[in-house]
Homo-oligomer: 330 residues x 2
């Protein structure tokens, strides 16, 4: 590197995916593509955190069985989530007798886990791995913001944490979506301190990784059907388009953001969806289906994460962000 | 796998390390081996969390410069810590313009980050990477337990979170300690719910990974000068010896635990040290030096982590644990 881009020689492939999403999420564009649509966001559990963990366990299991494998045929689970100490991922992994690598990249986790799993599969260190992540609106609200019972007013620049999870089974061979390369992100901090404006905080990280990707690969934006960011939301997407344009890269024609498209009517959600589950659900339902069917040929999937905590913000720190990109093609 | 053990064909090597440790830690056996001994555990910062982050930044920088590299010659930082949203690692990575993979494995992070970095280096995805982690007694106490000001009595089975950090520069070639293999752990939960008894909770995970390692490799315990666990403490170490013995593996002759040996006089610390910084400091100071000098030829480094959070314990969950092992040889 110097060069942040990794090329996968064998092009490991996502041969199966699995997704769960909440009621509000399934009203939107992904509704028809999600495998398990919840009728109740508690998912039969007694707490939001347990519901989040159950979603993650469900999609890990689903990705394995949808690929026609048994659990013991899978060599690794790479997963993380937004909760303190990534308890959703760790407790979900407890249900599987499979080696586990816990990762943390906030909402960039779907791309990070795909990149790590792809490197282990491509390098010959394991036969196949599951990459998965998720989030839950209610567990995120009470951990990062306010108890829902307070009914705190949300500012217009806020986004809505997606209730949902997505998992992908990455195999060495087979019929699937190929992972051609990964561009690993650096931590970027433009000094944004407004914890309600994640889109503005994350856009510079997305810009940095996208520019690095095109600089390293020598490709043009037009070589991708879509450049898909994770959860910048409407405002963050506009900022990203401006930032890349200023640097001489025009992505306005083929850029789309999972957070911007996930909800049907943008009303309470203001700028759109966020959370690790946002890009996980949209990628593993809608985009995976479109790639498998041939409607899309090649996308750059750029998941973005805000690496703050309530403690760091409370101590006056700004919000460091990161974005990891993977090239997915059929 | 099925087989949890990964073999690194090129045997990437730890060509340099860097460590920082607190005042109490430097009174013990590692005192002579630690690179930077703090005279004040606040490390000139205004908060414990900022001190923890500064330690991590210091050892990442130290590992790079001790290896004779510049920051731009390093392709990846793999790091995590115990704080919510791994802010120490993320904020430390902000200081470096280097691609960052955030990982979370609680106190198993040193082994997890070495395994991930070694796979990326060995697989040819990057030239060299830094693996690093750390912890701080005061930030861990207030996040996981009680405010220090309360002066809460510690039960006898408790351990003392190490104030310290360690980093290792992993290179493809050069003079260093070779990373021959990694055995990635599964999440193991024996139903322990006592958050003050991490040693008992983690010992079964250490046992599971150690047994898997010897089963997969066909090696004998005697082929290692030492089997070094991360931070089981005195009680956890005894449990581990019993558990492995019951399964037909006798490690009593060459097992040592970083948590058990780090403090000079075990008094307030009861069972010894814990925290991600515990095994990070002991490995990267004491053991790395002993391996480089030839006093030790070959060790199995097994870092152990308890994957709980205050929320999971508050919701009545037991403590899932994990252990990752790496074979280090000269």
């Amino acid at each position: 590197m110097g060069n942040q881009t990794i090329y996968f020689k064998q092009r490991p492939r996502i041969v199966a995916t699995s997704t769960v999403a909440g009621t509000k999420e399934c009203e939107g564009v992904i509704g028809r593509y999600v495998e398990t649509a919840l009728s109740d966001d508690m998912y039969g559990e007694s707490t939001f955190e347990k519901a989040e963990c159950k979603m993650l366990s469900k999609v890990i299991d689903g990705a394995i069985s949808n690929a026609g494998y048994k659990r013991e045929e899978v060599d690794m689970i790479v997963s993380g989530d937004l909760l303190n100490q990534i308890i959703s991922a760790s407790f979900a992994a407890r249900d599987f007798s499979v080696p586990f690598l816990g990762v943390y990249g906030a909402c960039s986790t779907m791309a990070e886990s795909i990149a790590v799993a792809a490197a282990f599969v491509d390098g010959g260190y394991c036969r196949r791995a599951v990459a998965a992540t998720g989030s839950h609106f209610a567990s995120a609200e009470r951990q990062y913001r306010y108890p829902l019972e307070l009914g705190t007013t949300r500012p217009p620049q806020a986004q809505w944490t997606v209730t949902g999870a997505g998992g992908a089974l990455i195999d060495r061979t087979g019929d699937g979506v190929k992972i051609a390369s990964a561009t690993l992100g650096k931590v970027v901090d433009f000094g944004v301190t407004d914890v309600n404006n994640m889109g503005a905080a994350m856009a510079p990280a997305a810009c940095d990784t996208i520019l690095a990707h095109f600089r390293n690969t020598g490709e043009e934006a037009e070589q991708y059907d879509l450049i898909v960011t994770g959860d910048l939301g409407a405002l963050g997407s506009r900022i990203l388009k401006d930032l890349t344009w200023e640097k001489g890269l025009d992505i306005s024609k083929n850029h789309v953001d999972c957070g911007e498209i996930i909800y049907n009517v943008i009303e309470d959600e203001f700028q759109g969806g966020s959370g690790a589950g946002c890009s996980a659900v949209v990628l593993n339902s809608y985009f995976w289906t479109k790639l498998m069917s041939g409607s899309l040929r090649r996308i750059l999937f750029v998941a973005t994460g805000a690496l703050l905590s309530t403690v760091s913000s409370g101590q006056g720190e700004s919000i460091p962000c990161i974005a990891h990109a993977v090239t997915l093609e059929r």
